[in-house]
Amino acid sequence: MTTTESTPQSGTVTGDAPRPTGPLSKIDYSERIPNNVNLAGDRKLQRALESWQPKFLDWWKNLGPSIPTHDVYLRTAIAVGRDGWAHFDRVPMEEYRWGIFLAERDPDRTVAFGHHKGEPAWQEVPGEYRSDLRRLIVIQGDTEPASVEQQRHLGMTAPSLYDMRNLFQVNVEEGRHLWAMVYLLQAYFGKDGREEAEELLKRNSGDYDSPRILGAFNEETTDWLSFFMFTYFTDRDGKYQLGTLKESGFDPLARTCEFMLKEEAHHMFVGTTGVQRTVQRTAQLMKEHGTDDIWEYGGIPLSVIQKYLNFQYSVSMDLFGSEVSSNAASYYTAGLKGRWMETRRKDDHLLTDYTMEVPGIESGRMTTRTVPMLNALNLDLRNEYSADCENGVKRWNQELEEAGLEQRLFLPHQGFNRKVGAFAGHHVTPTGEIVDEATWERSVGEYLPTAEDRARVAELMVPHHEPGEFAGWISPPSVGINSLPVEYDYVRF
């Protein structure tokens, strides 16, 4: 996963915010809300945001990062051009400028798949698909603030200022992604859209009465290892969902998601390198002390890392929904949600005559059955996702190999620990064996983090808030943010 941050550009400030156009309102929106949607000239949007923005700020104050800071070295998107989207500066977090950006419009874009294939992409919501599109956007939007809520206390135990800054960067960008979805709701869905936008702030992760929509977003992120796993596996689900919406026939949604994908890449980077640096430190301690049990030396044992991986991968797999789905089929046919890299695929983009093998369990054995391709699109996307997940695992295993160790991390079987789809209700081990209830209960502690594992990891989560300092369970990165040194005071108190 390459990002702008891992290949820093020169200079700290690049690109200007676009000049406001249209009549100026009392509030200088282009300053407070960087955008390329002509917010200053859009009375409708202004009014919608006037009421929504204070509620968003309240939400951020109440449920955003809980540790007080003076300012943070953050990247802010202020324009969509190559330069504008990566503008770095020290910013007090409550003054962060959440902007609204859509990728540039291609005036010739057409719907690439489904029943409307070849028709000009829709610039307005077609009434026929209003509720489906709104639902898709609300579900996507609901995940964005959820992770901020899940991660709000992590700053307290950051292993370094560098990592704390990365956490906050992820947080503000999730906030911006919420903005992006809210923009679509408010700009294109009228009153219903505004109401849904407010609901997004009313639901809270883990709230008994008003939880987030998807299960994985109601689990608390208790420690930094789960944060890294979350950003690697669960944010990657987000990336793939965005990838399908990027293909949407509804052009503003497609353009919004295209731009969000750039930022999502940074979250992937935080996850990939976070786990990698943890594995690196673990490998170093294992080698140094000649043992797997490195708790007493202040490291996280590789078996525990594997268990965290097993957990996060399996709950993220559930986010793709059932392998066989009529919703996925109708979203595709309607032109609302495509496949990953839809336009690069070499088929008819209608899929009415194609089939796909779908895995499952019958009479206690792994089987497959043939279903119409249109109904198997969730699986198609999940398979793309799984293949991508393998890349990170390879990278982490490189650390083990370089340390001369035999052990390796691996992705568990697709049927492991699943609560949704064909494998739900069965017990499948990480290596793909089907076992009975008793066997599962006996060995589940070897597959998934136990309360004790989590407690011992939590014990290691001791804050390191001096510039250049790093906790003992994780290695420092090789380079800092935006060409700055690793020792830079990325967060000031």
Partner: protein, 579 residues
Amino acid sequence: MTTLEDRSAATEGPGPVAEPAATPEVSFDTSPEAYRHWTLSVDGEVATLTLDVAEDGGIVPGYELKMNSYDLGVDIELHDAVQRIRFEHPEVKAVVVTSAKERMFCAGANIKMLAASPHSWKVNFCKFTNETRNGFEDASAHSGLPFLAAVNGTAAGGGYELALACDQIVLVDDNSSAVSLPEVPLLGVLPGTGGLTRVVDKRGVRRDLADVFSTTAEGIRGERAVQWRLVDASVKARDFPQEVARRAAELAARSTRPGAGAGGVALTPLRRETDGDTTRYEHVRVVLDRNSGTATITVLGPAAVPGTVEELQEQGDAAWLLAATRELDDAVLRLRTNELAIGTWLLRTEGDVATTAAYDEFLLANRGHWLVNETIGFYRRTVKRLDTTSRSLFALIEPGSCFVGALAEIAFAADRQFMLEGIWEDAAEEGREALPPAVIRLDEFNTGLLPMSNDLTRLQVRFLGSAAELAAAEAAVGRDLLAADAAELGLVTSTPDDIDWEDEIRLVVEERASFSPDALTGMEANLRFAGRETPETKVFGRLTAWQNWIFQRPNAAGPEGALRRYGTGKRADYDRKRV
């Protein structure tokens, strides 16, 4: 509504009849001078409508209207004739319906026509004929204008149903003329213009006898018909004219109509200008958008209020509510019949709220006058047509509208009401008139004068679930209700402001267009008529709905079905499974 027409023609006809190549545009314009099938004659207090169908006068080519069988064209004349008796002949106090044919009163709807028609045509035809027959009963109940069926020959199917719509039925006793409903035994369909409903509900025929009657193709005649209450009297041919005259005079004597000297109002031809997809009348404008499948129907409010009923009478058919109602009625009928793919109607009004309210007050103050009463009745029936229209109806209540009292019923007849909150903010900048916010104002028209077919007001139906909400709405009579008030009272569905308005309407129209038209028709018909049943609601809700189902079934409409095989000499081959 069927016929025993020409059973000897059985040998000539092939089974399935080809559908007409193209259905011509139907016009509802006619006048007594132009009638081909009916004669309207007035003799003192009694008007006589005589049916003498021209065999070659079908509204669509492809069939002959033998034996006084009818099609839509015949019924358009009947509808027109009744309207003229109401408005042009206030001196008339009773109407006799009879036939000019030997031994045949009326054979009902033409079977060749039904067999050859697309489903939509059959449904529209039945709806219109039902409304015309309901109009007889409405005239009797609300205008003091009773109807007498002088059945001087066989009345079969729709012919007997025509008689059933009258207050009294006198059947000639000639040892052959019978009344019958042969649809079930001969055609595999139902008598679809209220026959089954009226036999038991209106005439009180015992249900087992009604069952025998409805399955006996040749029907019932003479004294037995009287005993079973199928007719009021069976009269020898030689006594028939006198008995009819006696009964007509008796009915006329009980009438509340003004009688001689009242001075009728001539219904002159409607002025209708069509330019592409825009049709303009004087007080009504219809604009079609074929892309979105919508018709925007705008009714213009009154420009002035007559000072006295004499002034109203002098205005004749140019008087605002009469003229606007004729135009709206015509627009509704034409859209229903000719524009099947226009699935959503957007209902608007334009005009001055105060003037419209004053016009209502004028009508209410003079409602005892026959012309005012007829005008209100005509309007009531026209809004009822909206209730039974198989289109999605959305009312758009915008600045500049005049949804007051009578006109507000158009909004309440709609499936949803959208009311603009506030004003058009950019009106001044865009060079349009800056109009004050839209209001709704209720008056007595909303609280009792314009009931639906279930005899409830649209407000009563709307608030069936809450007496308190109904009371609150009725207590708002006379107030100018802004969007927020109307929303609070539950009089409107949604109140977008000018920023959201266009998008909201576009989205709801597009969404509507994406649903199954059949499912929408069924859904809307179910939601519109909450509350109790009346014979009228049963005719539309039960009889018509079942008929429309049967019309689609192979047992009737399939190549081996009874409707298609009728007259071929071949027996219908039924699928015996009950559904």
